[in-house]
């Protein structure tokens, strides 16, 4: 579906980091350099963000998701926080009401895809190899391997890493960060970029609270220090505690995505009707 590059690269690697467009001339190209020893060098003013390539792919993904009314959640956490377990619980319930699919990102193996597929929900595995994060271009190609889920939900389970994935917009509606109580309540302060980028934090494995030193209030305070508007749900993938609140949050997101799609379609119909009316007047 990569509408930007039209390339036929498979989604199994991050080696191709495409850049597109941005061939504006910002002037000043004739400025001369004063570096000694290099004849006829010139200075070119550029002003180009290195992340612009990823951003253009992310924007295209987001436009695609909006057009098809798909609610997209990018799940982020350290390895072992329970991302896949939470996802298995969520898709098992949500698949009864909505079309759902999952993109799994891991450095190696398709173990997580096997766990999702066991629920009957279509899943596509991306192995990032040496890369520590998913990027928007890889997501664009992963979508090509999944069935259409108009009006449904796409979950993207990112590579387990609290640093790099924070910097890559994939075109999702929301980044959701998962912090398990076995990791420590100071994580939001240690990895602030991730908790700043997320709209929602799931505090997972609350069934283990009696056995670990984890202060819920400290964790909330730390998260809000980094991101005052972050939403929080305390959950346990094992016991199911708190999951209904998270599922309701997702369903509200789906409703919103569907409404936006409906409004866009109505606007298109009105525009077409207007065009038809003008033809009727002519004849």
């Amino acid at each position: 579906m990569c509408g930007i590059c039209g390339c036929e690269q498979t989604a199994s690697g991050l080696g191709n980091y495409h850049t597109h467009g941005h061939d504006h001339d910002h002037g000043g190209a004739a400025e001369h350099s004063d570096t000694a020893g290099l004849s006829r060098t010139r200075i070119v003013q550029v002003e180009q963000d290195i992340m612009a390539a990823n951003q253009s792919h992310a924007d295209a993904n987001r436009a695609h998701f909006t057009e098809h009314g798909i609610f997209v959640v990018n799940l982020l956490s350290s390895p072992g926080s329970g991302k896949t377990s939470l996802l298995v619980e969520a898709v098992s319930v949500l698949k009864k009401r909505f079309p759902v699919s999952v993109i799994e990102g891991d450095q190696q193996t398709s173990l997580d895809t096997a766990r999702i597929s066991a629920t009957g929900v279509p899943a596509w595995q991306i192995n990032t190899g040496k890369a520590c994060h998913l990027d928007a271009h890889t997501i664009a190609h992963a979508i090509e391997h999944l069935p259409a889920i108009d009006g449904g939900i796409l979950f993207i389970e990112n590579v387990g890493n609290l640093v790099c994935p924070a910097g890559f917009d994939l075109g999702e509606a929301h980044k959701v960060v998962i912090l398990s109580v076995t990791e420590g309540d100071d994580k939001p302060l240690k990895y602030p970029n991730m908790f700043h980028a997320a709209d929602l934090m799931l505090l997972n494995k609350i069934d283990l609270l009696p056995y670990v030193r984890f202060d819920m209030n400290s964790a909330l305070e730390a998260a809000r220090q980094v991101n005052p508007t972050i939403g929080v749900f305390a959950v346990s993938a094992l016991t199911g505690d708190g999951l209904s609140a998270w599922l309701e949050w997702i369903i509200a997101g789906v409703d919103h995505a569907r409404e936006r799609r409906q409004m866009a379609l109505l606007a298109r119909r009105a525009a077409l009707q207007h065009e038809l009316d003008s033809i009727d007047l002519q004849f």
Binding site: D23, Q45, D49, V163
Partner: protein
């Protein structure tokens, strides 16, 4: 974070600029990196030397200009310095801050032939 991927993106951006600005070799690159971008400048320097080998920026010099982050403090109603996420307003100690600047990783200018 991901400094290798960033350097790959940088090299591709340089190749793209070579097409639009008509140059064959890059001798020097000026990068602007914000303090909130979660980028380790030393790692960028190290990876830049490796990732540019055999490219149009082979042996190019790299200058990094670090830019301090700034944020809008809601209680103060003014722009304040923000060195990293999680820090509070230097005036009122509030965390109600909206980032204004400092997340960029930007190529500013190039010296080319």
């Amino acid at each position: 974070m991901h400094e290798i991927a960033l350097c790959e993106g940088l090299v591709q951006a340089l190749e793209e600029q070579a097409g639009s600005h008509g140059f064959r070799h890059v001798h020097r690159v000026w990068l602007e990196i914000g303090s909130l971008a979660s980028v380790e400048c030393d790692a960028i320097r190290f990876n830049f030397d490796i990732m540019t080998r055999g490219t149009i920026a082979d042996n190019a010099k790299l200058d990094i200009m670090e830019v301090n982050g700034t944020a809008w403090c809601l209680p103060c109603g003014m722009a304040v310095d923000l060195h990293r996420f999680g820090d509070s307003c230097p005036n009122c100690d509030s965390h109600q801050l909206q980032v204004l600047d400092g997340t960029q990783i930007k190529i500013k200018k190039l010296e080319v032939t």
